[in-house]
């Protein structure tokens, strides 16, 4: 099964006596105590592993440490594509979480620099300014102040200026 953790893909298989990560088998034993409680031994080390899943990810808790592991590359793939690459030609400004738009700081057609503030959003009573990571022009504004927005919604589109 392919799993994703922090943008990195892992090929993971478990058998009755081993855990195989990216083709490398390690001697292991996995005991399921209850729906959310596993006891896993890998090599000499033994840990109690708490795990719960929703449609997209597994929440894993081991020894006070939390791991959120994705089932598909959906969310993580975008990190690869959009990354912080300075070469990209278009930027979709999206809110980090569901919330509301406080203020749109740019107008359509406006020139912006890398690092220019674009829009202010608020969620859980915290105000967050989103910045452009590229130099370009504001090609699209899809929201206005006061509007409720979703985390996957594209609020503003910045396009790299075409030099002709």
């Amino acid at each position: 099964m392919d799993l994703f953790y922090k943008g990195k893909k892992y090929q993971v298989e478990t058998t009755s006596e081993s855990v195989i990560v990216d083709g490398i088998p390690k001697k292991a034993e996995i005991k399921k105590y209850a729906d959310n409680i596993l006891r896993i031994r890998i090599g000499e080390e033994e840990k109690t592993v708490y795990v719960a899943t929703d449609e997209k990810q597994a929440y894993v808790f081991i020894d006070g440490e939390q791991f959120v592991i994705q089932k598909s590359s959906d969310t993580e793939a975008k990190v690869e594509v959009e990354g912080d690459g300075k070469d990209k030609n278009i930027e979709h400004i999206k809110p980090p979480m569901p919330g509301s738009v406080v203020k749109v700081l740019v107008n359509p057609g406006q020139k912006v620099d890398e690092g220019s503030p674009i829009i202010v959003v608020e969620a859980m009573k915290m105000e967050i300014t989103l910045y452009s990571s590229i130099q370009g022009i504001v090609s699209q504004i899809n929201v206005e102040a006061g509007q409720q927005v979703d985390s996957e919604q594209v609020l503003v589109v910045i396009s790299k200026e075409e030099i002709e």
């Binding site: 099964m1 799993l3 953790y5 892992y10 993971v12 478990t14 855990v19 390690k26 292991a28 996995i30 399921k32 959310n36 596993l38 896993i40 890998i42 840990k47 592993v49 708490y50 795990v51 719960a52 899943t53 929703d54 449609e55 997209k56 597994a58 929440y59 894993v60 808790f61 081991i62 020894d63 006070g64 440490e65 939390q66 791991f67 959120v68 592991i69 969310t75 975008k78 912080d84 999206k94 980090p96 979480m97 919330g99 406080v102 203020k103 503030p117 202010v120 969620a123 009573k125 915290m126 105000e127 967050i128 300014t129 989103l130 910045y131 452009s132 990571s133 979703d150 985390s151 996957e152």
Partner: protein, 500 residues
Amino acid sequence: MIKKILVANRSEIACRVIKACKELGIRSVAIYSDADRKALHTLLADEAVYIGESPPLKSYLNMEAIINAALKTGCDAIHPGYGFLSERAEFNRMVRDAGLIFIGSNPESMSLLGSKVQSRLTMLTSGVPIIPGMKSATKDIGEFKKYAAELGYPVLVKASDGGGGKGMRIVYSEAELEDSVNSAIRESISAFKSDAIYLEKYIESPRHIEFQVAADNYGNAVYLFERECSIQRRHQKIIEETPSVALDPDLRRRMGETAVRAIKAAGYTNLGTVEFLLDKNGNFYFLEVNARIQVEHPITELTTGVDLVKLQIQIANGEKLPFSQDELYQYGHSIECRIYAEDAENYFLPSSGKVLFLREPTGPGIRFDSGIYQSCDVPVFYDPIMAKLIVWGRNREEARKRMINALKNTIILGTKTSIGFMIKVLEHPEWIAGNTFTDFIDKHFGGKHSPSPELIDFALAGAEVAFRSEPKVVRVSNLKEAIPSPWQTLGHWEIAKGKN
């Protein structure tokens, strides 16, 4: 005589107040919004009343609806908890005008203290030391520039009516000043409905020490010692402890007596907290009075043996303070860790979701003040506090070890939490050495934290097993809500521009 209390709050503090009511034989009424229909506090109260839609302005900040609910259900008092309307003098007055008891100070002292500018003036005239800064709020950017230059950068832009770090910005240079002022104004309007902003000198690497005070309606006032609240992220506390390693008996007594002087100067009654900044040289400055029960009140309860919420209700009921200053003492050491739904790997940004699995910690000296249960939602609309873990030990080291173990046994799956991060803080040599300053997290963790890489194989194996054994039933939960942190999808972003 108070017989029935409406609790005008949600989550863990609403549950805490309801428990105090039960011990006093007082009936309790919970209020809830759409998002909180099945929240824990609605299950614990004797009655629960729907108050409005999920956004706070329509529900937990809806003053008329709350007072009407109290009247309709035959309550004689309202307990505001912390946050929301707890320090809104206008609400306090409306409650009194409706013939109900507001469990807190009187509205007059509250409006005085609620305004940081006014309270600074009062303290100044009563000989309580304050941080140098503006004597009144302004919107004139020229004034800000002039003042900032006089004080010297860095400076702190603050909302006069603010609290909890909201509407607060550290400004390192004049270039950032205007943006920070505007942003603080907007945040202050949104959170506190006020555009009053002022400036003061930013004291670097201070400790945040607060004193619990209590005053009855007959002129008696005491302090219930300090709480050290220096471990903060986003200017909000995350780990608190008492006693503070920075105080000796003499400094403790001087600060405590100053705290009592401060609330007497303001004509304050009931329970309150006087906040001080303590600099490296042992100078302390009055910051503000929090006219409410504090999130971190349990550490005082565990070391003094006083139930502070019950004390609030008893004072509101017209009873005298049941103890004098000489009868109060601190015993042992207590630590609180706030368990927020937030992403410690991503600058502590709030997370939301559903609690898919929960196991609460138990054991000697362990207290868990919770607002969640397994399968409940953590809505996006409110402060993402889920629970507080509080421990008591005979000394700091026993309390620290107990807390680390208790955190490891606090299993909350379904949202991101800062549990792993807080363990790392408590294991940090500087924390152990007592070097807890307000810049601790930025300095030692860069505002971020990552789990240990050696556990990744266990995590992957656990996830693989869990995904494979997933029941093939389509669940009807809200997909969107189950995705806690889409921050990864962002390109370039920053919180509160200005740092570095």
